[in-house]
Symmetry: C2
Subunit: 362 residues, 2 copies
């Protein structure tokens, strides 16, 4: 396997079309100031020879690498892959991000870095120096990591922050977690629930706080109290079990619970079952994320759907638009989450059949 050269280069095209390299380059890059006639001639040669520019060479010569890096948390991502519980975050990112990249001649490269590592900067620099990506897509919990954003800024690399609201450099994109939590709460309230519990996610993720805030806001707007209705989890199944146990053991337990992700809500389902509660007759459940498994539980879970693919697609578009010098919005992009009602949420028991000491009246 010797020195492998490109079989068809810009030089061949130039020769075939009888023009200079530069003209071919201009056509490839859709630059203005090329006569339609010329353009057609070059285009024809490109087609004829099956020419495709080498992105390595494009990077060397110019300022574009046609590479976008999707940065994910190493530990969490690998754990998800290994456990095979159906978390499809990366797949959805690829669905939205990769396909959008492809439309523009870009490639998406998934990179994993360790959030907790003290040398996170070195890890990231390694990827940046090696690939020289045109942009980086940050995902939680990296999206608001100042070590990362500062470094990217410093190197003049455009980036998108998924699940971030802070303004500052980089594009902020959010699925409006607060509104999503409100949606979930209102859905349950409409079913007649008054005691709606909430299991919070890891405090390491900003979005955990937003979700709690949305629930609080909705409860307040509905005139409902939240005492004893909030439990802390960390997104893990085990933490979900503990949180559920706490909520269900209270004096005046909730008749509905919102879990901040599918794992914790699933854990709640289990705990409730073990206590002889029927879902949804005795306890309604609403989950966050809508990963594949929630369609296969019994009953399937009502859930907040995160439009990850859509957000990733928007992130890619923003990065490419910026690179191309096109105008980009200043405010955060909001791609709202939605709620899919399934079997785990149902009308609350009425006072008649509810053996509760609650004095609330519908």
């Amino acid at each position: 396997m010797g020195r492998r050269r490109q079989s068809v280069t810009i030089r061949h095209v130039a020769a075939d079309a009888g023009v200079s390299l530069q003209t071919v380059s201009r056509v490839i890059n859709k630059e203005p100031n090329v006569r339609p006639e010329m353009m057609a001639r070059v285009q024809a040669s490109i087609e004829k020879l099956g020419y495709v520019p080498s992105i390595a060479a494009q990077r060397m010569g110019g300022s574009r690498s046609y590479l976008i890096v999707a940065l994910n948390d190493r530990e969490r991502t690998i754990a998800d892959w290994r456990s095979r519980q159906g978390t499809d975050w990366v797949d959805q990112m690829l669905l939205g991000g990769m396909l959008t990249c492809a439309e523009h001649g870009y490639r998406l490269i998934v990179e994993l870095v360790d959030t907790h590592s003290d040398h996170i900067e070195r890890e990231l620099m390694g990827a940046v120096a090696a690939l020289q990506p045109d942009g980086v897509i940050l995902t939680p919990p990296h999206s608001e990591n100042v070590l990362i954003t500062r470094l990217l800024d410093h190197h003049g690399i455009s980036f998108a922050r998924i699940g971030s609201l802070k303004d500052g450099s980089g594009f902020a994109l959010t699925m409006d977690d607060e509104r999503a939590a409100r949606l979930a709460t209102e859905h349950l309230a409409e079913l007649g629930h008054r005691r709606i519990g909430f299991i919070a996610g890891s405090t390491e993720y900003e979005l955990s706080g937003w979700r709690v805030a949305g629930w609080r806001a909705a409860m307040a707007a509905l005139g409902l109290g939240v005492d004893g209705l909030l439990a802390q989890g960390d997104f893990s199944y085990e933490s979900g079990r503990r949180a559920a146990a706490t909520l269900l053991s209270s004096e005046d337990p909730p008749t509905a619970i919102i879990g901040s992700n599918d794992q914790m809500t699933l854990a709640t389902l289990e705990v409730a079952r073990e206590r002889g509660l029927d879902i949804p007759a005795d306890l309604s459940l609403v989950s966050f994320d809508d990963t594949p498994i929630v369609r296969f539980t019994h009953p399937p879970l009502t859930a907040i759907v995160q439009p990850i693919a859509e957000v990733a697609a928007r992130a890619v578009e923003l990065i490419i638009a910026q690179k191309a010098g096109r105008p980009t919005p200043g405010e955060p992009i909001v791609v709202p989450a939605s709620l899919v009602a399934r079997g785990s949420s149902a009308p609350a028991r009425t006072l008649a059949d509810q053996p509760s000491k609650s004095l609330l009246r519908p």
Copy 2:
């Protein structure tokens, strides 16, 4: 955003260490003929300056791009991503392939191409010309597509064929589907089943045939007939429903069914339920693939586990070894699948409690 240059180049390292560019290059590439002393000095400068070679430049100069392409079927992959049924093939490839790449300073890039497209060669050439990958990993149904393998061969690009047994150029890797099907069949036979049905996958995939062959072989070895026990599917849920209906409607229906993938087995579970059959009391089920959802069905499915991550890791290692001029095996690599017993398979009813006209005796 002007012309972005590498912040630390080989030149800086050379200057810092007081050596020539070439010596630094030799150290980076772990070439022989460098004095340990020299090597240490250069290494120190590299660390100090935080130097990381640009892979674009490495590709331009030499013959390596440090890129490996994982080629997947576009239609199927996108459908899987969109449907969110938990298929985690790509994730498992990334788990094995990407992490192994990272260990060697390589990157894995996922590419989708259309199997059915008449211009599949152009699609693939586009990726090859643009990325100039050091290797390509072919997955079913591309693994034995001659259009693809010939093209890769012609361009001197090493490649691995996952799920292939044919020898020829490229590394063949198999999870021994035939043996896996035998395993599944024997598992059911040990539970006392004599009428073991099989739902075949799409004929477009070679492995579908191997699985059928394994089942046939096992049945023959056990002295069991296969009349009316084979149904054809195409890996889709709907085809699974049809196949299950056919098998269960026969005069002498199976007491156990092996589905060639999870979707079809799930469909069988549904159809059986609709007919009032209890799983596993009336019908045992064994599935293929072990995607996440089979852990969450009721009962969870006994399944053949495909070691996709492991195979992808081996594929990457083979490609890198070949690139490095290290010796590589000539025969196909076999990474055997295994069986995980779960709730969907149980002992067959004995003659006593079986309202069947079967005359078979255990």
